[in-house]
Amino acid sequence: MKQVISLTVNTDDIDLVVEPHRSLLDALRNEGGMTGTKKGCNVGECGSCTVIMNGIPVNSCLVLAVEAQGADIVTIEGIQDSPDEPHLLQENFMIRGAAQCGFCTPGFIVAAKALLDENPTPTRDEIRFAIAGNICRCTGYTKIIEAIELTAEQLNAKQTQEA
């Protein structure tokens, strides 16, 4: 029996009609039409489906859609501050070669966003740990770590400047 769930996705309040056994990942992709969140394994092993749920990064393939009732969700489609300007993380992922095939990239950027929201001055090891649940097969991770590190520095410099 399908159920209606109400949740906030990227600041929009939406209703989705889902089967009770549906994952949040499938609900976002199929019912919500937001395919930026990727299905790399569907069993919580690769991190490609990472979204921020109530401030915490989660594998959306391991969350039942009905568990997201009332939740505040941020997906890769909601990372940008404005449609015309990529987030600094996205900009640095492009410039630093932190994305190649791009399939794991949404998961990494969302995981990095959750890290920087929580800890604006992460050490290199904290960055490595924050993305330890995300698999990338193209880059060797170094450029991803550098892109996140650079973003943290730039965001902090910007904040200092503004203060």
């Binding site: 039409g33 790399g40 890769i76 190649q100 095939c101 990239t105 949404p106």
Partner: protein, 764 residues
């Protein structure tokens, strides 16, 4: 502009050699990029494949009635109702790799996981349930899981085809000089058996296919493939369609690393399900299926014997390589030829005899995977070079330099090597790490950790010549505002290939990078392409794009010369401005603008290029730590030195090297896709049990790229880089482990329990 590389570009007045922003990335970082499974199709049905749970058997009976009765099931296919057309899984035209040994569905299964039926249903859950309702009765045959079992004279035949004896192809041999004389001249002889496991590419995007037919019987296929024209060709052949009725589309793809060159059964089944139901169907492999029915590297056993003079000179080399092809031929012939013939080179030797075999077994299918045969060959060769250095009391760097392949030596492609790339990599690396000081460093023998350094070398060809007589095509056309469009058939696996091609076109044509767009991924529109593999996309696709751009430039300058009242040969064009020797200028936009109301003609250039092969080189210097209490090996740092000719996009080139090292560390220390050797059942078809390096496992990588041996066969002298890094890293790690603990491993992956056992037997 906020990017420093733009200033750099202006100073050098050139587009190549700068890390322009890749054109595919904005869509990828914002989630807008559509991969195959992201493409919405109204009225979509979900296709799933039922896979065998026995490794070798005949299907006696297959009953689909219960599945068909399930509400929501729209079609069920078995070997009884699909076309029976024998075809190759790796259908490169004019290729030695073409092994016709598979059907869409057969009445025989050859490995645990072989597809036996397919279902289309209104939801994924119903499709899944329907698979369970298909009853299959098997008559089991003896399973042959090792090459020894399969080559036994009494072994049953997995395929009934030539040359028999469960061989995929007749044994290949490569010989040079006089092997007996060579061994007679040797002061010492070293002989060993080396073994390679079964790593898999583990691309992040699982295989996905969608198919839709229109009312006129035209088939559209959306697919994650490296070889869209091969998919078109073989699907047309097997489904009995003319080529113009099959349109293959691929935009972004989530990695392939070689494996997404094959036809996997799913393409045909998806098309047939869509045809039968008259609805679009998507077949999306699960992660487990990408292991079960994917393509791994060929497991290998290499016997290698070499003779050496006291000074390290190699006098003779003899080897036998036996590759395990698994249940189907796939790229077996190519891997056998490329791998075995790889031993002709890297280190010079006048007396060589090599034999290569490729054997069917009831194991997972081995196919094309980054480093294709060469990973296996040079793992053995470069470990044995280290063994020779130890036995002769020579410096491992010295013995490599002494024997390193040089300019003019005949490469495995049968062409002379250009430049001294390998020597340059070795001498540069020796300086970078201060190898001489490392050799003399005091060893810390307190505590459980032992540290060691090792070297691994490689050479790798761009293009699959001579195994495949390759061909690249390109069309470049100029718009009426002076911008240009490149039409290319080459696929973008994620390397940034289309950006590199756009850079090359901009450079050749003399316009800005931002003024070039690239059309790709639609077989109805772009020129034919053999596919993206063999490290040849920038080399061949880049060169032919440059050729097509040069033709447009010729047409452009002819018109500009008339306007400027001069000869076209005197004109220069750069970054959108045409100039005469006496300083007069005309923008490209002005040159193509209408004159007296008459528009400029369509400037268009098309080109075809048949490359041979260029070789890139690398030497990797690696430091490892071995924990003598746990057996665990950690890679502490890698200093990879690569010679790749002209670098088109430095960040993307470095990205290939770092990513290749990541996969190579995995192969050498952790990754092995395993089956139960009694039943053939898959044991670790998931990312928890199949261990790959994660962010916590990766060491610092200090990449050095050299441009000292450019190849005229590539655009502006550029050569390939995609496969090189994964080849050199393996032996470098194995040699570093030897340096750390004095234990010589001749196989991969080198697992902690093996390290511990070896240390125990060392002290016993």
């Amino acid at each position: 502009m906020k990017h420093s590389n733009v200033e750099h570009e202006k100073l050098r007045n050139t587009v190549i050699g700068t890390s322009v922003k890749r054109t595919d990335l904005l869509d990828k970082v914002t989630g807008a990029a559509q991969f195959t499974a992201d493409i919405p199709l109204p009225n979509l049905l979900y296709g799933r494949i039922k896979r065998s749970n026995v490794a070798h058997a005949l299907i006696k009976r297959i009953d689909t009635s219960r599945a068909l009765a399930l509400p929501g099931v729209k079609a069920v296919l078995t070997h009884e109702n699909v076309p029976r057309v024998l075809h190759a899984g790796s259908p490169h035209p004019r290729s030695a790799s073409c092994t016709k040994d598979q059907y869409i569905l057969d009445n025989k299964v050859r490995y645990w996981g072989d597809g036996v039926a397919a279902v289309a249903a209104t939801t994924e859950e119903i499709a899944e349930e329907a698979l369970e309702l298909i009853d299959v009765e098997y008559e089991e045959l003896p399973g042959l899981f090792t090459v020894e079992e399969a080559m036994h004279p009494d072994a049953p035949l997995i395929h009934d085809r030539e040359p028999g004896g469960n061989l995929v192809l007749p044994p290949v041999t490569f010989a040079r000089g006089d092997i007996d004389k060579g061994f007679a001249e040797a002061d010492i002889i070293i002989e060993g058996e080396y073994e390679g496991g079964r790593p898999t590419p583990a691309y992040m995007e699982p295989n996905a296919i969608s198919c839709q037919w229109d009312a006129n019987g035209n088939l559209t296929v959306w697919i994650s493939t490296q070889t869209s024209f091969m998919v078109r060709g073989i699907m047309a052949e097997v489904l009995g369609l003319p080529l113009h009725k099959v349109r293959v589309l691929v935009d972004h793809m989530g990695g392939g690393f070689g494996a997404k060159q094959d036809l996997y059964q799913g393409e045909f089944l998806c098309a047939l399900l869509a045809k039968e139901t008259r609805r679009p169907v998507r077949v999306e492999y699960t992660r487990e299926e990408t292991f079960l029915a994917g393509r791994s590297r060929h497991p290998v056993k290499t016997w290698l014997k070499q003779g050496f003079k006291k000074d390290g000179t190699i006098t003779a080399r003899q080897a036998t390589m036996v590759f395990n092809s698994g249940a189907y031929g796939s790229h077996g012939p190519g891997v056998t030829n490329v791998g075995t013939s790889g031993l002709l080179s890297l280190y010079r030797c006048d007396n060589i005899h090599l034999e290569g075999k490729c054997v069917y077994t009831n194991s997972p299918i081995a196919g094309a995977y980054r480093g294709f045969g060469v990973v296996q060959a040079y793992y053995a060769l470069d470990i044995q070079m280290d063994e020779a250095a130890v036995k002769l009391g020579l410096d491992p760097a010295e013995i490599r330099l002494k024997n390193a392949v040089r300019e003019g030596d005949i490469a495995p492609s049968e062409h002379p090597v250009i430049g001294h790339g390998l020597e340059d990599c070795l001498t540069t690396g020796v300086k970078l790490v201060d190898w001489q000081a490392l050799r003399k460093r005091p060893r810390d023998t307190t505590g459980p950790i032992r540290k060691g350094w090792g070297i691994g070398c490689e050479m790798h060809g761009s293009s699959a010549y001579p195994g495949i007589k390759e061909q690249g095509n390109a069309i470049v056309k100029m718009n009426e505002d002076g911008s240009a469009v490149l039409l290319t058939g080459t696929a973008g696996l994620g390397t940034g290939a289309h950006t590199a091609l756009a850079q090359i076109v901009a450079e050749e044509l003399g316009i800005k990078f931002e003024d070039v767009s690239v059309v790709h991924g639609d077989t109805d529109i772009v020129p034919w392409d053999i596919g993206a593999f063999a490290s040849h996309t920038t080399f061949m696709g880049g060169r032919v794009s440059q050729m097509a751009a040069a033709e447009v430039k010729r047409q452009l300058l002819e018109r500009a010369a008339k306007i400027l009242e001069t000869e076209p040969e005197t004109l220069e064009v750069s970054l959108g401005v045409i100039s005469t020797p006496d300083g007069r200028t005309l923008t490209v936009r002005e040159a193509v603008a209408p004159t007296l109301g008459v528009p400029a003609p369509q400037f268009v250039g098309s080109a075809t290029y048949h490359p041979t092969k260029s070789y890139s080189f690398a030497a990797h210097f690696v430091e490892v730590s071995v924990d003598t209490e746990t057996g665990f090996v950690t890679v502490d740092q890698v200093v990879p030195v690569h010679e790749i000719g002209k670098v088109i996009h430095p960040v993307a080139a470095a990205g290939q090297i770092e990513g290749g090292i990541q996969q190579g560390i995995g192969h050498t220390l952790y990754e092995d896709y395993q089956i139960d050797l009694k039943t053939g059942r898959s044991l670790n078809a998931n990312f928890v049990d199949y261990k790959m390096p994660l962010s916590m496992d990766m060491p610092p990588i200090h990449t050095k790229i050299l441009e000292t041996a450019p190849d005229p066969g590539g655009p502006f002298g550029a050569k390939g880089v995609g496969e090189d890094p994964i080849v050199a890293i393996g032996p470098a790690i194995a040699n570093a482990i030897y340096d750390a603990i004095g234990v010589r491993f001749r196989h991969y992956p080198i697992k902690p329990e093996e390290v511990l056992a070896a240390l125990e037997s060392q002290t016993a």
